[in-house]
Amino acid sequence: MREKETTLYLGPQHPGVTGNMMVKLKVAGDTVVKAETHVGYLHRAFEKLMEVRSWMQCFPIVCRICVPEPDPNEENLARAVEEIEGREVPERAKYIRVMVLELARMASILLWMGGQSGSAGLYTMPQWSVGDRDYILDLFEELTGGRVYHMYIWPGGVRRDLPEGFEDRVLKTLDYLESRLPDYDHLMFENAIFQKRAKGVGVIPKEKALEWGVVGPPLRGCGIKHDVRIDEPYEVYDKLDFIVPTYEGGDVWARAMVRRQEFEQSISIIRQVIEKMPKGDYYNKVPNPFNWIVPPGEAYVKTESVRGEFGYYVVSDGSLKPRRIHVRGAAYVHGVSLLEKILVGANIADVSFIMNSLGVCPPEIER
C-alpha cells in the first residue's frame, strides 16, 4: 500500500537548512519522495550591480557572494582582470594569495565541521571548531583589517604586505590547529554514532558524478581525483607539494573524510608557502581606480574553493565598467540539481545532514 504523502517545508526559517533557502519535501512516512529546492531569498543582484560599478568597486561586492569563504571570489575577479589586461603579478603576491586562500579554506572547513556535526545533533563540535576558527579570523583581521570580508586580493597583487612577524603568528596558529585535530577526531570522526549516521547516506553514484557536474570534495568523495589546483594550477600551486585526498563511497562519510584530510593538506601548504615566500614587491602599480579602463576581452577563471570549482566569467567591453560578470558558484549545481536528485529516498532526518555535507551555500546560488 502506498503511504500518504505529506509536504514538508524545510526552511527558509528552519535551523536545519544551510542558510536562507528552502527545500520542499514530499514525504511518505519517513522517506523523501520528491525534493525541490527553492532559492532566491538572498538575491541581491550582484551581477547587475557590478554592471553599474567601476572595476575597483566590484571588489567589495564580490566577496559578499560567498559568506563562509569570500576569498576565492576576490581571487577569481582579480585573476580574470589580470588575464584580460595582461597584467603581471609579483611572485611574493602570488604566495601571499595562496596563503590567504588556504587560510580561508581552513576557516571554512572548521565552519563546515560545526555545521555537519551540529546537523547530526553533536553540539559540542560547533562550539570547539567555530571557536577555533576565530583564531584564523584574527589572522585575517591583522592582515586585511576585516574578519570576514577582506577585500585584500586585487589585480596586480595584494592590498598590503604581511605585517612584521605575521609568519610566526600564522605558524603558531597552525600548530595550535594541528594539535586540535586529534580532539576533533575523537569527538566527531571516530565517533561510532557519527559514522553510523554518515556511512551510506546521500550517495552520489560514481559513474554519474562527472556528468552531473559534481565538483570539489563531493567529487573526490566518489573516488575521482580532480582538483582545480592540479588540473589547472593557478598562482603558485604547481610549485607546492601537496596531495589531493580521495575517498571511495560517495556518501556523507567519504566527503567528511576528504574535507578532514584537506584540512591537513592546507596546513602543510601554508607551511611550505611561508618557507618559500620570496622577498620583494607585493603589488604592481594599480591604475587610477576612477579611470581604469580594462581592454575588451573575456576570461573564464576558476579557483578551488572548499565546495569545489568556483568560476568567474568576466566580459569587458573596454569601458569603465564590466560588461558582464557571471559567477559559477560551486553550490549552484550541488544545491539545486544534485540535491534534488540525491535527497530522493533519503530519511528526513538526513536531509539537513546531506545538505551540510554538500556544502550548499545559498548566496552563491542566487547571488
Binding site: 505529506t6 509536504t7 514538508l8 528552519h14 535551523p15 536545519g16 519517513d30 556535526s117 551540529g118 546537523s119 547530526a120 545533533g121 553533536l122 553540539y123 559540542t124 562550539q127 570547539w128 571557536g131 569527538l187 565517533n191 554514532i193 557519527f194 553510523k196 549516521r197 530519511n347 528526513i348 532526518a349 538526513d350 536531509v351 539537513s352 545532514f353
Partner: protein, 302 residues
C-alpha cells in the same frame, strides 16, 4: 477517617521541591555543558528565568482545546508520577502516596504525559510536531521494553511491587539492587538514557531535522508549563531510579548526591554524541538493553 496532616504537607511541597531541584539541575547541566565546550555558560538561575519569562509572555497562540490541554496533560503526568515516588526513606512527610503495586502503576503513568502531548500536537497541525510525536512514540516502544523487563526482574527477585518495600530492603550499602541485580540495572539505565531524551536519543526534539518537534507550535505559557513539567519529571525519574537501584535516600543531601550522579550519565553521554536516527535508536534499545533485561529475568527465574 483520620487525616495525616504531615502527609498533606508533603504532598503540597514535594512538587515545589522537585521544581526547584529540577530547574537547578537544568542550570547546572548548562554550565557543565558549557565548560566542556570551552566556554563559561549561563548563570545557574538561567533555566528559572527562562521559565518565568515564558510565563510572562503577553500573548499565547493556541489552535484548539486539545492543544490547550496538552501541557496540562504533561504536567499532570509528571506531578502524579512524583506523588507515587517516595522521596525520602522512612519519612512521614515525603513518602507520598506509595502503595502496594505502585511500581506497576508507575510504568503506566510515566507514559501518560507523552500520550497527552501527542493528542495536543495533532491538533496544532504542524507537520514537524506530528513527525516528532511519531518519533517519540516509536522510541518509547524501543526503551519501554528493556525498562519493563528490568522492573519485572526486580519485582520477581524481591517479590514485591511496592517501592517502599524495595527501599526498606536496601538498608545497607551492599544490599543495593544495583549490586544484587546488575543486569536489571544495566537494562534500566540504558532505557533511562532514552527516557531522558539527551543525545544520542534526542530524536524527538531534533532541531536540525524537525525544528523542535512536538513543542514547535507551543510558545509562551504553554512552553513554560512544559518546561516546568520537564523539570519535575526529571526529578521524579531520578528519584525513582535512586529508590529502585541506589537504595533511596535518608536525607536531602544523599538524595541530591545520588540523583545528580545519576543525572550526569545521560547528560555527559549527550554532550559528546550525535543523535541516532529513529530506527537506529529503536534498534539500539532492542539489542543490548533488551538482552540485559532478558538476562536479568532469566537469572531471577532460575
Amino acid at each position: 477517617m483520620e487525616i495525616n496532616w504531615l502527609k498533606v504537607l508533603g504532598i503540597l511541597i514535594t512538587p515545589v521541591i522537585a521544581f526547584i531541584v529540577g530547574v537547578t539541575y537544568g542550570g547546572l547541566t548548562r554550565i557543565i555543558t558549557a565548560r566542556i565546550q570551552n566556554r563559561f555558560g549561563p548563570p545557574v538561575t538561567q533555566n528559572f528565568w527562562d521559565i518565568v519569562k515564558l510565563y510572562s509572555k503577553k500573548t499565547n497562540i493556541q489552535h484548539g482545546v486539545m492543544q490547550h490541554l496538552a501541557p496540562v496533560f504533561a504536567i499532570t503526568a509528571s506531578i502524579t508520577t512524583l506523588y507515587f515516588v517516595p522521596v525520602i526513606r522512612e519519612s512521614t512527610v515525603f513518602t507520598n502516596l506509595s502503595f502496594q503495586g505502585d511500581l506497576i502503576f508507575l510504568l503506566y503513568i510515566m507514559v501518560f504525559g507523552s500520550l497527552g502531548m501527542a493528542l495536543g500536537v495533532g491538533q496544532s497541525g504542524n507537520p514537524n510536531g506530528a513527525i516528532g510525536v511519531s518519533r517519540g512514540l516509536s522510541q518509547m516502544v524501543g526503551y519501554e521494553i528493556p525498562f519493563v523487563l528490568a522492573i519485572v526482574a526486580i519485582m520477581i527477585q524481591f517479590k514485591t511491587t511496592n517501592l517502599n518495600d524495595l527501599i526498606a530492603m536496601q538498608n545497607n550499602f551492599n544490599h543495593w539492587i544495583i549490586f544484587q541485580s546488575p543486569f536489571a540495572f544495566l537494562a534500566a539505565i540504558l532505557a533511562f538514557l532514552g527516557m531522558m531524551g539527551y543525545a544520542p536519543f534526542d530524536v524527538v526534539v531534533a532541531p536540525a531535522e524537525i525544528a523542535s518537534g512536538p513543542p514547535s507550535e507551543f510558545g509562551g505559557k504553554y512552553l513554560g508549563l512544559m518546561m516546568t513539567s520537564r523539570s519535575i519529571f526529571t526529578f521524579a525519574k531520578l528519584t525513582l531510579f535512586t529508590d529502585i537501584f541506589l537504595g533511596g535516600a535518608g536525607d536531602f543531601v544523599t538524595l541530591v548526591i545520588k540523583t545528580f550522579a545519576l543525572y550526569m550519565i545521560p547528560v555527559l553521554t549527550g554532550i559528546v554524541n550525535p543523535r541516532f536516527r529513529t530506527e537506529q535508536s529503536i534498534r539500539f534499545f532492542w539489542a543490548w538493553p533488551t538482552v540485559f533485561g532478558i538476562l536479568a529475568v532469566l537469572i531471577v527465574v532460575w
